[in-house]
């Protein structure tokens, strides 16, 4: 599903040149649950951004679903992204001005799905995430755990092949965190590929495989046996 060869990402500011990723090479197959771990500043988020087609590598090659997207335009990347990838963020990133229902509905709007079908799919996924009783509330009126469930609902509503989760439990207490991890595991069991950045060893244990990054390089890949 995903193939990266010698991915390198260098950030240039006026005075400093920072290499966030150095020649990172890995493959991720359809249906895998992969955790990316490492200390702050090791390049986890940068790698996730490239995988999520939010950023382009400086050097190297990135193939997503058999498309070489290494140097593709924002337009092409946006198209691939909205059809195939769902995102879950540490700080939820819900739009405060939209209700729960409208937040979840948003990706479907950009996919051009008709109103009626949108409504049905949003209802379904809210039901699945057990948050449909809150669909008319605004994010500010929900607890952290509820907000993250909405965010997961939003990530899955368009039936993406891949879900990228950037520290999905980072802002949650352990009970809520566990709930979110169970949701992700469920999705993975139903066939969705999941790539998750995390600091938490406990969360990482839900995955099949852990990629450990240090100073922008892959330190080690652990395969888990669960």
């Amino acid at each position: 599903m995903i193939k990266s060869v010698d991915l390198t990402r260098i950030f240039l500011t006026e005075e400093v040149e920072t290499t966030a990723l150095r020649q990172v090479t890995f493959d991720i197959k359809q249906g895998e649950f992969v955790a990316i771990m490492g200390p702050s500043g090791c390049g986890k988020s940068t790698l996730l951004n490239i995988i999520g087609l939010l950023d382009n590598p400086t050097k190297g090659k990135y193939i997503f679903l058999d498309h070489d997207v290494t140097n593709s335009s924002e337009r092409q990347r946006a198209k691939l992204r909205k059809q195939n990838i769902g995102f879950v963020f540490q700080n939820f990133n819900l739009i405060d001005e939209l209700t729960v229902f409208e937040n979840v509905e948003m990706p479907l709007i950009y996919l051009g799905i008709p109103t009626k079908e949108r409504k049905q799919r949003v209802e379904e996924v809210l039901e699945q995430m057990q948050i449909s009783h809150r669909k008319k509330h605004f994010p500010g009126q929900l607890s952290g755990g509820q907000q993250q469930r909405v965010a997961v609902a939003r990530a899955v509503v368009s039936n993406p092949k891949l879900i990228l989760a950037d520290e999905p439990t980072g802002n949650l207490d352990s009970a809520n965190g566990e709930e979110v991890m169970n949701l992700l595991s469920d999705l993975n069991r139903k066939g969705t590929t999941i790539i998750m950045v995390t600091h938490s060893q406990r969360d990482a244990e839900y995955s099949h495989r852990i990629i450990r990054l240090f100073d922008g390089q892959i330190l080690v890949e652990n395969f888990q046996s669960n």
Binding site: A78, E97, L98, E102, Y110
Partner: protein, 802 residues
Amino acid sequence: MWLNYFKIACRNLIKHKFYTSLNVIGLAIGIASFILIWLYILDELSYDRHYRKAENIYRLVNVYDFEGVGENSASSPFPVAWTLKSDYPGMVENVTRVFNRQVPRTLIEHNDKSYNERRFFFGDSTFFKIFDVPFIYGDPYTALNEINSVVISQSAACKYFGDSVPMGKTIRFEKMLDLKVTGVIRDVPGNSHFQFDMMASLSSLRKMYGGSLPKTWVWNPCWTYLLVKPGMADKLETNFPAFIQKYFYDAEKEHVSLYLQPLLDIHLKSTLDYEIEPNGNISYLYILGSIAFFLLIIAIINYFNLATATSANRAREIGIKKVFGATRVQLMVQFLTESLLMALFALFIALMLIEFTLPTFNVLAGKQIDLYRFTNAFYLLGVIGIATLTGLLAGSYPAFFLSSFNPIESFKGKIRKGARSGTARKALVVIQFVVSIILVIITLNIFRQVSFMKNADTGFSKQDILLVPISNTMISRNFEGFKNELLQNPHVKSVTAMDDILGVAHNTHEFRPEGLPDDNWQFYPALVVRYDFLKTFDIKLLAGRDYNESMKTDPEKGMLINEAMVKHLGWKSYQEALGKRFSSLQGEERVIGVFTNFNATSLHQPVGPFVLNIKETPGVIRFFLKYAAIKVDPGSRQEVVHFVEDRWDSWEKGRPFEYSWFDHELAKLYAGEEILGLLALVLTMIIIFIAALGLYGLVAFMALQRTREIGIRRVMGATEFSLIKLLSVEFIWLVIVAIAIAFPLTWLLIDYWRSYFAYAMPLQWSSFLIGGLAAFLLAMFITTVRALVASKANPVDTIKYE
């Protein structure tokens, strides 16, 4: 998707109430002002367009040029109209003359009612075939066929006849003729270059002129309108030189030219002598239009600035949407929806503002614009179009700017920093300052020019002179008798009379100065006056003497000329001019005195040669004495008015007394500039207000961005003054840049404006100082207010911010 845009837009506008209200107020005032000025300009452009044949109606203009002296006359000699019609039947479809006997008011009586009518004219029977005014009673094609018939307006009908139908009834004209009402028309629209309440058949005057209308080709009192066959105007004009050769007198032929002035050009472009009514000025429309345009731009810039400054608040939303597949175009459409919504909301408020301010605006601008116009599709679409365009324009830059955010950066909060500086925003603030400064300076200069013209030394005294119209009165038949009665009152200093208001208008008369060949008549600007004219108006003599009642030959043989005439005729000194002979229609006259130059018309025109003349033949005196001028003691103006009215009543039974003050009549010359000045002043104040709103919003936002910094500085012991300095220093620099741009631009603009006046006042450097200072103080005031608010906050709370 649109519903989604709309929802987010509404919720965002409500969430950021402070910035939303700044924007809406600014846009509403901007749109309201723009619409008002737009209506004003449309009204000015609509003059005479209601006449169905307007495109093919022309007024004949007579130019008399005698070595640079003469006149550009809006009116023509009596015979011209019908001679043109009979000589060029293939080109001239119809003609009409309009004539007011060159008197400012006409006495009209019916039963016990009597009024001095200012809007009374005589016209040919063809008048209503050319100028189609809707008739309520009567037939436009025949109404003026008979002698002694008159068509009156609805208002006049009401005034004289109340509710009864006036058809067939009579009104009495100047105690001479009974005119039968043969038609009642709707009131002539205000947007006509001349308005009339009564149009009598010109043939009625035949008897007064001894059986037929005047046949002279010299006297040119008739406004002559031609309905030219489509496309024939240019061809007709090429025939004018031959026409002049054929009909005009030999002495004039070389000096006269004729041309056709399109009816639709009259109101905005015509500045001829003897206009029926004062006209507008197209340059002033350009000035007002530009100011209104800039006003709207300022409101739009406010929107730009506030939307981009507060964009940090939106950065996350933009990032999320991009991550979930929104394209840049979709985001731009969303932001445009927001600005459009805001503009339409602002339009709603603007329309309410217009409803409240329209009466005041009409008074200020001298218009009768009503809201009824908005029921017309053109106006309605225009108004919605203005708001839509404003909304799209206002949203364009923010949409472009906001949609460019990179989602990764927007999550990290990097946008926040970018939102703080922003060269583009600085440039926009500079533009606002530049426009404000330019307008302040220009408005000041317009005002000073108007007050300069009103108070300029025109060469005669203006204060405390009472003007009483006396055309066709018993008084004009025995003026000296009336004068002696007035002089009995100790508060009456001096009394004289004239045929036009000094400084406002004058005629030209034919003279042949000594030394010129026999047939070389010249037309010189002149006023026909009575004794004590120089004394009443305090005009200085340079040589010779004034007219003297005890010198029996003065009226017939003596004339007064001004210093410009001496120069024009090449005489070496004022002394040399004395005794020079001028042939005139009265025979031969000699210069008995030379007086100082005065401004015989408005200060738009330079001073030229001028003649003051007394006529003696009784009929001629009566014809030429149109105004009595009475110089009174400053403290007793009202008292003298009552006294004069009392005397008037004993002389003029049944004729209403009317008067005006000389300085007011002169001020009317600058009514156009005065309206322009007032509108410019109001618009400038509005612009400054809108700019201040935007600036306040911007400073407030910057202070918010720097809340933490301000808190830390306060903990470290910063004083209020140092906080003011912190917030204001950036704006002070922007003001300085704005001044550097605004001053040269303003200088060019004012230079151009000054070229429009023969007597422009010198460039006022102090106005530049005031304009610059205004911008500086505005910036200081706003930043100070905001800094004081920031300094009142508890530093412990503010440090926690972010």
